[in-house]
């Protein structure tokens, strides 16, 4: 225990804390619990499947998602009589394989969803815990700002901003995160305020622990589970938001495969080539459904007081 370099000791301890066995054991217990929840486990497996597909898209997709083949436009899916075996789920209005486009589209949806959730949860939780702990002017200003942001409906706000900023991946992430951190802010602030009144916090304070240490080492681990649940449930929501924006042409532009814009381009052919819109939508439904099922199971496990027997 070198007294010359106390900060180094602290840093090493904290690092070990984060990667320590406690977390690993918790995770293993968590997996054991999860197996009891059938629907949530299935949801989780499907989500992992989608992530896998998204990452290894170039190896899994049978065809090039961007390859246009006008001669083979609007072919019906392989499993329908009269359909082309070549196109598993049919081809779109310029002859691209829908199945491959769906696979690549998963990349867009998942990355937007996960990145947005990560940014907004970190930002929102940081601001929320600090605001909830220190209160005062900082808290009031940010809370008022958050309330103001909340007075706009999500989709309108996003459409408005995207219309101003123009379509594109990074614009999309920025716009979606712009309002969504507020949810995490409110949650973490509320939890922080109620945790702060508990006795273990007072005990830590009396023991002379610094404020930062109290926040991160004592209180945060008790709040993390509800933030995690909220984050999981929001991923699906953001994926739908992204799809809605792409549908309007304000998100990811064609020809980049994105489920929302695929559904939109299929609109014209609703009546004679229903698969162009329906297939990407089904993929979206399955993914978001799985995320939501998993999130619900997560909530039941991590927050037993919310569970109803």
């Amino acid at each position: 225990m070198s007294k010359l370099f106390p900060t180094q000791e602290k840093k090493r301890k904290n690092f070990r804390f984060i990667t320590s066995k406690i977390w690993w054991n918790n995770f293993k217990d968590f997996l054991k619990e999860l197996r009891k929840y059938h629907t949530a486990s299935i949801g989780g497996i499907i989500v992992i499947l989608f992530i896998f597909i998204a990452i290894f898209a170039p190896f899994i997709a049978p065809h090039d998602p961007l390859k246009v083949n006008i001669l083979k436009r609007l072919c019906s899916p392989a499993f329908i009589s009269g359909g082309e075996k070549y196109y598993l789920l049919g081809s779109d209005e310029v002859g691209r394989d829908i199945f491959s486009r769906i696979i690549f589209g998963a990349r867009v949806s998942l990355s937007v969803g996960l990145i947005t959730v990560t940014i907004s949860s970190i930002l929102g939780t940081l601001l929320g815990t600090l605001a909830g702990y220190f209160r005062g002017r900082f808290d009031t200003i940010i809370s008022r700002f958050a309330d103001l942001l909340l007075s706009f409906p999500d989709l309108i706000f996003a459409i408005f901003l995207m219309a101003m900023a123009g379509p594109g991946f990074f614009n999309l992430i920025f716009v979606l995160s712009f309002k969504s951190w507020v949810e995490f802010f409110r949650l973490s602030r509320g939890e922080m305020i109620s945790e702060k009144t508990k006795e273990y916090v007072e005990a830590a304070y009396i023991l002379g622990e610094s404020n930062i240490k109290i926040i991160f080492k004592e209180i945060l681990p008790n709040i993390v589970h509800s933030i995690l649940v909220l984050a999981t449930l929001r991923v699906g929501y953001f994926i739908i938001l992204e799809a809605s924006l792409s549908f309007l042409g304000l998100g990811i532009q064609p020809p980049t495969p994105a489920w929302g814009s695929m559904i939109n381009s299929g609109r014209e052919y609703m009546l004679n080539a229903w698969w162009v819109s329906t297939m990407p939508g089904l993929a979206l439904l399955i993914l978001v459904l799985s995320i939501n099922l998993f999130g619900e199971g997560l909530r039941d496990i991590l927050d037993p007081r919310l569970k109803i027997e």
């Binding site: 409906p153 609703m270 009546l271 459904l289």
Partner: protein, 336 residues
């Protein structure tokens, strides 16, 4: 007592609305992209004088504060500016379309309540039974399926394949009832125009369902979970010891309490309905405010976007205000 609380709420809402208007206004002015270019089309064959004339017509050459002042004073006269494209007052354009949007939003809201309340109550009362599981499955689907996709699927099934319901528009040409409120359903009932009533209902069904499905799911869940909590309370057992029928216990004692958090959620859902409005209106060709906004966005017609977004935000604030007021009736503790 209650009147004071309500007044309080209204007074708080006013500065919020003002702030919203100012923010939207300023925001639109500081983003890049010169609206005049857009108005001209990217042709470039326009003389300097024409550009200057256009700019002064729309006050674009004044500093932002002056523009703001003009705009706000205009609001009190019902003048929200003039559309770039159509050269008609924004207010008129919005007002033309507003009833259609309100009718759709109401249709969606009524649909979600009709679905959510019985399912929410039944799921809670018959907890863990088949009805409960089915109800929960339905809610999961409701929140996972995006509205725009759902509407396309509904169109494919009901309009294309089964051919029982129409797809586009609000009513066939020439069938519209006498204009009393602007809401076709109400107008046709008031003027006893049963044909118009039938037609407008037929056109309203699919859009309302697509728009309302997600809200129905969310409201069902929160109603169910608050009912479950309420049904475990002592006062419910006590009500039973009084000799009340189970029906009364659930509907009179439990539901009243369970509605309290539910009503708050309904208010929030109005915001979602307004937002989703745009997409549904575009798909179904519904002549409402949402479709106007979407086309204006693509036309870069800023005054309309501005006016419409302000309208949406205001409606949302008012809806939440109504919910707050309703809340004081439901929860006696808030009066204190």
């Amino acid at each position: 007592m209650r009147a004071i609380k309500i007044l309080e709420r209204i007074l708080i809402a006013i500065p919020v609305m003002f702030t919203i208007v100012i923010i939207i206004f300023v925001f639109m002015r500081i983003i890049p992209g010169d609206p005049v270019d857009v108005m001209m089309g990217k042709g470039g064959n326009v003389s300097e004088e024409e550009i200057l004339a256009l700019k002064s017509e729309f006050h674009l050459d004044q500093p932002i504060s002056t523009q703001l002042r003009i705009f706000i004073s205009g609001i009190f006269h019902g003048d929200l500016g003039t559309s770039f494209r159509e050269r008609k007052p924004v207010w008129d354009l919005i007002m033309e379309r507003l009833p259609a949007t309100i009718e759709l939003a109401l249709g969606a809201l009524i649909f979600s309540l009709i679905v959510a309340i019985p399912i929410g109550i039944l799921s809670a009362v018959k907890h863990n039974s088949l009805i409960d599981r089915l109800g929960m499955a339905f809610t999961f689907l409701g929140i996972s399926a995006p509205a725009f996709w759902l509407s396309i699927v509904l169109i494919i099934v009901f309009a294309a394949k089964l051919n029982i319901l129409p797809v586009f528009g609000r009513i066939p040409y020439g069938f519209a009832p006498v204009h009393i409120t602007g809401l076709y359903i109400i107008d046709s009932i008031l003027s006893c125009n049963w044909m118009a009533l039938k037609e407008s209902l037929k056109h309203l069904i699919l859009p309302s369902i697509s728009l309302g499905a997600a809200s129905a799911a969310v409201i069902t869940r929160i109603l169910r979970s608050s009912m479950l909590e309420v049904l475990r309370a002592d006062y419910i057992t006590f009500a039973r010891t009084k000799g009340l029928s189970e029906y009364l216990v659930i509907i009179k004692h439990a539901l009243r309490n369970a509605l309290i958090p539910t009503v708050t959620m309904v208010g929030l859902q109005v915001g979602t309905l307004l937002g989703g409005n745009m997409i549904i209106e575009t798909i179904f060709g519904w002549p409402g405010l949402g479709r106007l906004v979407v086309t204006s966005i693509f036309n870069r017609d800023f005054p309309i976007i501005q006016g419409a977004v302000i309208f949406y935000a205001l409606i949302y604030v008012i809806a939440n205000l109504i919910v707050d007021i309703l809340y004081t009736y439901l929860n006696p503790k808030t009066i204190l």
